[in-house]
Structures are given as structure tokens and as C-alpha cells.
């Protein structure tokens, strides 16, 4: 237990004093945020219009109604899709973190040719895009008798994320000092205990960045769910959202699509805002080094 998470005992954070230099810093970052956010204003303003308001989305905030949201909410079967999305994203991210930290452990620690090879072997998986191998993948799943359920895309989410995550964690593994682990070894801790109680907690900053990046990707991905899910009740949010996409005969109801898009991103935004403090503290608490 001596290697458990340290309590965050820093004194209350002191902010930078407002000097001309820091003022410039604030100015730069505020300007930057405006540039970043401004395209998204189009989404919000359009989503607040009625579904058949066809004026250009660039005329901002000309109408305030939740009609598009209502239609998106009911046509999407939002609660069910939300639940599906939460289950697949949560489950996948958890498995990704566990499997890839485990895999990164020998790869990052053992200094042999084999470990080096495995490192490049995993990285090479980053390079082939999934669309190209989707047919062999579908055949493999079929041969293994894995049916199309709401969890089938999870298998592919975890697999596709492994190269990235193993690469990320084995990089961060270098920053975790070996000395702590050596002393745990001398104390007689077993390999499993050494990993889960010493190394794993110290990887926290990398785990948080892995969860954020992979979670975002999986939450928004519609490729695997569209290929592997047949039933409407099993759709995840992005697939439900894309049902509002039209084609040349039925042009997309963009206002509804935008509303659906906001509804789709909303859980992420809420999670981000709610966990903001924990993210900051978590990242800081995980900081070791030195």
C-alpha cells in the first residue's frame, strides 16, 4: 500500500499575477478560443430553428425553437441509443486501458530484440485503415460465430485502439522510474501485484489522455456500428444521428441533423464539465518523476 496514490497535498493553487505579459497570454488564448469555437456557432444556431427553415445557416440565431430538438429526440429513440453508446464506449475504453497497459508493460520494460519487435509490430497496426480490411474482418467474425449484437463493434473498437494505446503507454512507461519497481521486487511483491499497485497507478496521466482520445473517437464512430449492427434498437448515437442525412431526392434536414449532433455531443460535454476538476487533479496527482 506504500505505493498507492498519494494524497494531493498541494496548497491551494495560486494564479499568475496580472502583468502585461500574462495579459498578453490571456489575450492570445481568448482569441484562439474564439477562432476555435466560431464554426460551432453555426451548429448551435441552426439547431435552434424549426426543421423546415431553409435559410442559410450563416444567418445566425434568427429563430429560437426547440422543434428540431424534439424531432431529433423522438426519431432517434434517444434514451436507448444513449444507453447503447454509454455501454459500448465505457466498456471499450475500460478494456483498452487494461489490455494495452498490460501489453505495454513488457514491451516498455524488457530490453530485448523480441520486445523491440513487438513494439513495431503493434505500431504497424496503426497504418492499415479499417475500411480496407472490413470484409476480411466480417468474415472472421462470422467464422468465429460471433453474432451481430450491440457489443460486436466493441471488439473492433478495442482491437483498433490497441496499436495507439500500446504505443502511448510504452512511451510513457519510460517515464515511470524503474527504481520504485525494483524496491517493490526486493520487498517480494509478485509480478501481478507489482504491476497493478505500483506501475498502473503511476501511468495515470497517460491513462487519462488515452481515455479522452479513444473515448472521443469511439463515441463518434459510426463505421463499425453501421457494419455490425442490424437492429435499430441497438444503434449507437452517431448512427442514429446519421439517419437524418439525406441524398439528392431528400435533402438532409440539416437543422434536425445539427440538433441530433448537439444531442450526440451533449453527454460528452456534460462529462467533460463535470470531471474537469478531477481531470486536472488526476493528471497532477499522477505526476511523478524525480
Amino acid at each position: 500500500m506504500a505505493f498507492g496514490r498519494k494524497k494531493d497535498d498541494r496548497e491551494k493553487e495560486q494564479y499568475l499575477a496580472l502583468t502585461p505579459k500574462t495579459f498578453l497570454l490571456y489575450l492570445v488564448i481568448i482569441l484562439f478560443c474564439i477562432v476555435v469555437i466560431s464554426p460551432l456557432v453555426i451548429v448551435f444556431s441552426s439547431s435552434l430553428r424549426s426543421p423546415d427553415n431553409q435559410t442559410s445557416p450563416l444567418a445566425l440565431f434568427i429563430e429560437f425553437t426547440f422543434a428540431s430538438y424534439k424531432r431529433a429526440f423522438s426519431n432517434m429513440n434517444y434514451p436507448m441509443e444513449l444507453l447503447n453508446s454509454i455501454m459500448t464506449t465505457g466498456g471499450s475504453v475500460l478494456l483498452i486501458v487494461i489490455f494495452s497497459t498490460m501489453a505495454a508493460y513488457p514491451i516498455g520494460r524488457i530490453k530485448t530484440k523480441l520486445a523491440r519487435f513487438l513494439y513495431f509490430f503493434f505500431i504497424s497496426g496503426l497504418i492499415i485503415p479499417s475500411q480496407m480490411v472490413i470484409v476480411p474482418i466480417a468474415q472472421t467474425l462470422n467464422r468465429l460465430g460471433i453474432p451481430n449484437t450491440r457489443f460486436t463493434p466493441m471488439i473492433m473498437f478495442v482491437t483498433c485502439s490497441l496499436p495507439f494505446s500500446v504505443f502511448l503507454f510504452s512511451g510513457f512507461m519510460k517515464g515511470v522510474p524503474v527504481e520504485i519497481e525494483e524496491s517493490a521486487f526486493i520487498d517480494g511483491a509478485s509480478l501481478g501485484k507489482r504491476f497493478w499497485t505500483v506501475v498502473f497507478p503511476l501511468l495515470q496521466p497517460a491513462i487519462i489522455s488515452c481515455v479522452i482520445t479513444q473515448g472521443l473517437w469511439i463515441w463518434n464512430d459510426y463505421f463499425y456500428p453501421m457494419v455490425f449492427i442490424s437492429k435499430k434498437a441497438q444503434y449507437s448515437l452517431p448512427v442514429g444521428m446519421l439517419q437524418f442525412l439525406g441524398d439528392k431526392e431528400n435533402p438532409a434536414q440539416w437543422n434536425v441533423l445539427f440538433a441530433a449532433c448537439v444531442l450526440c455531443a451533449l453527454p460528452l460535454i456534460i462529462v467533460f464539465l463535470a470531471l474537469q476538476k478531477q481531470f486536472v487533479n488526476g493528471i497532477a496527482a499522477g505526476a511523478v518523476k524525480g
Binding site: Q14, Y15, L25, I29, C33, V36, I37, S38, P39, L40, I42, V43, S56, L58, F99, M102, P106, I107, I110, K111, T112, F120, F122, I123, G125, I127, I128, P129, M132, V133, P136, Q139, T140, I155, M156, T159, L162, P163, F164, F167, L168, G171, F172, K174, V178, P205, A206, I212, L216, N220, Y222, C264, I269, Q276, V280, I283, G286, A287, K289, G290
Partner: protein, 305 residues
């Protein structure tokens, strides 16, 4: 406790703490990776020497014909050039911006949480919607930027980045950076958190300027993070195709056809799965050569720094 050290092969694992028993940890990841990724990829290699069309499994071997065709018809060089430009542009931009913002957000600035959320807001939205919004940003004349230009007295109608074959590639690269730099920033932020404050304190006492602190202390300490980010964005840039599909459909001309765009077009639109497989094997080789070279270079620098 430890067994008698036997005579071991050169290059074998001799560490007492990090024994080969650790490879057990690899099992779940490796099993999934082999079954659901490597095996399908090997099938792709197999398709590349056949005339498979994606639908009919009654196909014939054609040997290296597909490779010869891909190498001779000029699509490879064009898309390779586009991809390289695209990758260099996105890698530089997203890493410079990502690192700069991460460094600012790592200082004791107020409203850190708010700014951080702003920075990865774009990443929360799906690529299809992002592509659509940006077509309004880029729209000539009345688009967001066009309007802005008109308002400050410039000719907004002449601004048409997606319609011009010289600028279209950069225009979609900017969209990619806009959507992606948040991810880069998060990883830099995680790296910067591991930098020990006392080292910076010591540097300040020694009279280092802020720039020297960054250059001499922070950068070397986060060098493995830099490696991770650069490699990841290089790979992402080299296999990019999303915005070519969503915003320009490869045009104008062939100016935004990237490697992967070309692969998909060959596979799905032209129904030449065999040739597309050969194409993607070549693309794979191309990307892996660049990545490995960069990895060796960056790892060497990591050690030097």
C-alpha cells in the same frame, strides 16, 4: 531466490526484475490483435495478387499485375505527393499549436478548465458535421471568412479555397488540424504534468528565461511525449481521407486525392478490390518506412537530449 545464472544467448533478457514472465501480460492484447487485425490484414495481402472485385469470391490469381498497374498508371505518385504535403502541413501545425496551447494551459492561468474545454470542443463533433460546417466557413462570398474579408474591405468573393486546386488540399488540412489539435494538446498536457516543478524552480533561480526553460528543461523532459505525438499525427496525416470524401470528393481535379482516398475509390467505386489491395500494400510500405525512419530519428534525439 534467483536461479543460478545460466549461460545465455547474446541479446537475451538478463534482467532479474523484468523477467520474460512479464510477457504473460501481452496475452489478451496480442490475441485480439492477431485474430481481429493481423489475420484480416494478411488476407488483404492475399487479395493483392488476385483480380478480386470485392463481391465475387470466384477470383483468379494475377501475380504481380496489380502492383505493376498501380505503379504505372500514375495515381500512386499523385496521391503520394498530396498525402505528403497534407501530412507535413497537419503534423507541423497541430503539434506546434497543440504544444503551445498545452504549455499555456500548464501555467497558473485562470479559467484553465474553461479554456481546456474550448480547445477540445471541436473533437467532440462527428467528422461529417465538421465537414459540413466548414463548407459554410469556406463558402466563397457569403461564407464566414468571405464575409469577414468583405467587412474589412477585401474581396470576399475571390476567396474560394475549396474550389482552387492549389489551395484545396491546405483548406481541408486546416479542418483536420482544427478538429485534431485538441487530442495532441491533451497528450502534451499529460507529458508536461510529469515535468517536475522543482527542476523549473531551479532553472528560474539560475536565471533562465522562460524560453530557455522551455527549450532546455521542458522539451527534453517531454521528448518521449513529442515522439508519441509526432508519430501519431504523422500516421494520421498519412492515412487521412475523411475530409477529402466529405468536403471535396477528391477534387478539384485530383488535388485532394490522398493515398487512402485513392485506395477506397479503387476498391469501392471502381470495384477493383485486388488492385486496391495492392495499392494499400504499397501505401502501407510507404507509411511504415516513413514512420520507422522518424521513430529511429526521434528516439535517437530523445537519448541525446
Amino acid at each position: 531466490m534467483a536461479s543460478q545464472p545460466k549461460k545465455k544467448r547474446k541479446g537475451a533478457n538478463t534482467s532479474l526484475v523484468f523477467t520474460n514472465k512479464m510477457y504473460i501480460f501481452l496475452i489478451p492484447a496480442l490475441a485480439m490483435f492477431l485474430v481481429f487485425w493481423i489475420y484480416p490484414v494478411l488476407q488483404l495481402f492475399y487479395y493483392s495478387i488476385t483480380n478480386f472485385n470485392g463481391i465475387n469470391y470466384d477470383f483468379d490469381f494475377v501475380g504481380m499485375k496489380n502492383y505493376a498497374k498501380v505503379l504505372s498508371n500514375g495515381t500512386l505518385t499523385n496521391s503520394m505527393k498530396n498525402t505528403l504535403i497534407y501530412a507535413v502541413f497537419t503534423v507541423l501545425l497541430s503539434n506546434v499549436i497543440g504544444m503551445a496551447i498545452a504549455m499555456v494551459l500548464n501555467t497558473r492561468i485562470r479559467f484553465k478548465g474553461f479554456f481546456r474545454t474550448c480547445a477540445y470542443f471541436p473533437a467532440l463533433f462527428s467528422a461529417i458535421v465538421v465537414g459540413f460546417i466548414w463548407s459554410y466557413v469556406y463558402m466563397p462570398g457569403s461564407g464566414m471568412i468571405g464575409n469577414l474579408l468583405t467587412n474589412i474591405g477585401l474581396d470576399g468573393t475571390a476567396f474560394n479555397p475549396l474550389g482552387n486546386y492549389k489551395t484545396a488540399l491546405y483548406a481541408i488540412a486546416i479542418v483536420e488540424v482544427w478538429k485534431g489539435f485538441g487530442t495532441t494538446m491533451i497528450i502534451y498536457l499529460a507529458g508536461l504534468q510529469t515535468v517536475d516543478e522543482s527542476l523549473l524552480e531551479a532553472g528560474r533561480i539560475d536565471g533562465c528565461t522562460e524560453w530557455q526553460l522551455i527549450r532546455k528543461i521542458k522539451l527534453p523532459l517531454i521528448s518521449s511525449t513529442v515522439t508519441i505525438n509526432v508519430i501519431l499525427s504523422v500516421i494520421a496525416g498519412l492515412k487521412a481521407f475523411d475530409y477529402s470524401f466529405i468536403m471535396t470528393n477528391g477534387g478539384p481535379g485530383k488535388s485532394t486525392k490522398t493515398l487512402m482516398f485513392q485506395v477506397y475509390e479503387t476498391a469501392f467505386t471502381d470495384m477493383k478490390m485486388g488492385r486496391a489491395s495492392a495499392f494499400s500494400v504499397l501505401a502501407f510500405a510507404f507509411i511504415i518506412v516513413i514512420t520507422v525512419l522518424m521513430l529511429f530519428y526521434l528516439n535517437k534525439r530523445e537519448v541525446e537530449l
